[in-house]
């Protein structure tokens, strides 16, 4: 049996009577790719906000390696080993690519290093170099993040989330707005990532989801309506009606 790294139990939040996320329960297993899908407004992004600490749930639990981290602020979530990327690219656009990554890798260093010259943070620097290579951004290292192409920015977005070496990585629509070629490239990166980190993904490209995911969680109107391997989920009648058009 593969061990669950991230366990979400009965997670709920409502905004003014609307149950945006309603009693969602699922697990993500170590070094596997779990994808959350669902029509627009199904509550996927809200779910991510709840798991990553951007929102506090009114009910339910988030456990990381068995430790309850429910309601912890994002900075503590990161210390606990959970990082995320954003659907709308959220980088430090005025700063260089390398500096974006270095800021994100700073948590690898002890707190004391915050007060020593930046150059002394060796581990962070090495991490930056390996991320630059890993994501094919080495020749753009000294470019301002704002000067990158959309595809490169989306890649940097993932790299920034990955920089602090989290156990669990939440990727919110990493291929958003990408060309077909870029989407393929991103899929390759995500697959490679899953060798060392547990990935939780939100994705719209169904073809990509089906061949990338180890497990798919389907949401509709705030609720989970199915969970399982892609092939099983695809055949599920509830999913068929809710997601693939009201057949």
């Amino acid at each position: 049996m593969i061990e669950a790294v991230l366990a979400v139990e009965d997670l709920s939040i409502s905004f003014g009577g609307l149950h945006a996320v309603d009693a969602v329960t699922f697990t993500a297993e170590r070094n596997r790719i779990t994808t959350v899908i669902g029509p627009n407004g199904a509550g996927k992004s809200t779910l991510f906000n709840l798991i990553s600490g951007a929102l506090t749930p009114v009910r339910g639990h988030v456990r990381l390696d068995g430790i309850d981290v429910t309601g912890a602020p994002p900075n503590r979530m990161l210390s606990a080993g959970l990082a995320r990327s954003f659907q709308i690219t959220s980088l430090f656009f005025g700063l260089t690519v390398a500096e974006n990554l270095r800021l994100a890798a700073q948590r690898l260093e002890p707190n004391l290093r915050l007060w020593l010259p930046t150059g002394r943070s060796r581990r962070a620097r090495e991490r930056v170099r390996s991320l630059l290579d890993q994501f094919g951004l080495a020749d753009k290292a000294q470019y301002p993040a704002g000067a990158l192409s959309h595809g490169e920015q989306r890649r940097l977005e993932i790299a920034v989330a990955l920089a602090a070496e989290p156990k669990v990585l939440l990727l919110d629509e990493p291929t958003q707005g990408m060309s077909h070629g870029d989407t393929e490239l991103t899929a390759t990166y995500v697959r490679k990532l899953a060798q060392s980190v547990t990935v939780l993904l939100i994705e719209h490209d169904i073809g990509l989801v089906m061949n990338l995911s180890d497990k798919v969680v389907v949401m509709n109107q705030g609720r989970k309506i199915a969970e399982g391997p892609p092939a099983v989920v695809r055949a599920d009648p509830a999913v068929q009606s809710a997601y693939f058009g009201h057949a």
Binding site: P117, T118, Q142
Partner: protein, 328 residues
């Protein structure tokens, strides 16, 4: 090896060095011709340069516009004056001012950091205004007249003893203090702490997801700025022999903001250049007309519109080329 931000900081160090040398040159000339007035004026420019450094930490790095930094400058000045009248020791006065900056900065920071953007600007403005009014109406602090009779000091620096009555001596002492403040600020701004402040200015929402508490960082920035302002203010009564509520007024805070914008925001050294240029402009125009505010206002508006990066925006590309040369 070094990243762009570190290299920029180095470029600024060269500009700071040039400024320091120019100051020492001024001191020599002043000493040779036995000048008092201009050396006192230059000392004042340095002291207000310290206040501008504090504004730049908040505005240029953390992205917080303080319209009330004079609060800490003035508190430092009053605490220093009160201390000196009771117990004439430079180090005690500076220590008291530092404690004031730390303590006052914590309190003010906890209040002001509840909000952001224009609200931050207005609340810092309000805090300073209320404190200024309180002091203005407190008889034991001299009310609207301020405190006079701050004694002349002999500052024992170990190797030499400097009298605050000596124009050259105190000018150099102020230069030393402001240089230390500059060095401290530019050191901190080049550490990961300082980089995180820049990150907050650029995109605050993302910073918690990198694993850092933004409230703590912003409080750190606020306390640093209040300490720098307070320590600069502590020098003021040593220079002029008195303190007055005007030190806390909006015009003092506003001038510090003008200084930073004029010199170039987010460069630290720009704050010092700005202060010297501002003082020169003010006194040159002041020798023609009482209405220097019109000229300064127009100059300031022109800089905001046409030169948003200030004077350092003009100088920096040149310096950058110089420092980057030979480094890939």
């Amino acid at each position: 090896m070094h990243d762009a931000l570190t290299l920029d900081a180095r470029a600024n160090h060269w500009l700071a060095l040039a400024l320091g040398l120019a100051c020492i040159g001024t001191a020599c000339i002043g000493y040779a011709i036995g000048d008092t007035f201009y050396l006192r004026l230059a000392t004042e420019a340095l002291i207000f340069g310290g206040l501008a450094l504090a504004v730049d930490i908040l505005l240029g790095y953390t992205g917080l516009l303080s319209l009330g930094q004079a609060l800490y400058f003035g508190l430092g000045a009053y605490v220093s004056a009160v201390t000196l009248i009771a117990f004439p020791s430079f180090w005690t006065a500076m220590g008291a001012a530092l404690a004031t900056g730390l303590f006052g900065g914590l309190i003010g920071g906890l209040i002001a950091n509840r909000v952001r953007g224009v609200y931050f600007a207005l609340i810092t403005f309000g805090m300073a205004q209320v404190a200024a009014k309180a002091i203005y109406n407190t008889r034991s602090l001299g009310a609207s007249d301020g405190l006079i009779g701050v004694p002349v000091l002999d500052v024992n620096l170990g190797i030499v003893t400097v009298s605050t009555a000596s124009p050259v001596g105190f000018f150099l002492l102020a230069l030393g203090v402001v240089t230390l403040l500059y060095a401290l600020c530019s050191y901190l701004m080049d550490t990961p702490f300082g980089r995180l402040l820049i990150a907050i200015r650029t995109n605050e929402a993302r910073v918690p997801f990198l694993g850092f508490r933004t409230t703590t960082l912003r409080l750190g920035s606020f306390v640093l700025a209040s300490c720098v302002a307070s320590l600069s203010g502590a020098l003021y009564p040593m220079l002029r022999g008195f303190v007055s509520p005007e030190l806390l007024f909006f015009s003092t805070s506003g001038n510090a903001v003008i200084t930073v914008i004029l010199g170039g925001v987010g460069t630290l050294v720009g704050a010092l250049y700005g202060s010297i240029i501002f003082t020169i402009v003010k006194s040159v125009i002041g020798s023609w007309t009482e209405h220097h505010l019109i000229v300064i206002g127009i100059l300031f508006m022109a800089v905001v519109i046409f030169l948003p990066k200030g004077l350092m925006g003009l100088a920096q590309p040149l310096m950058r080329r110089m420092v980057h040369r030979g480094k890939p």
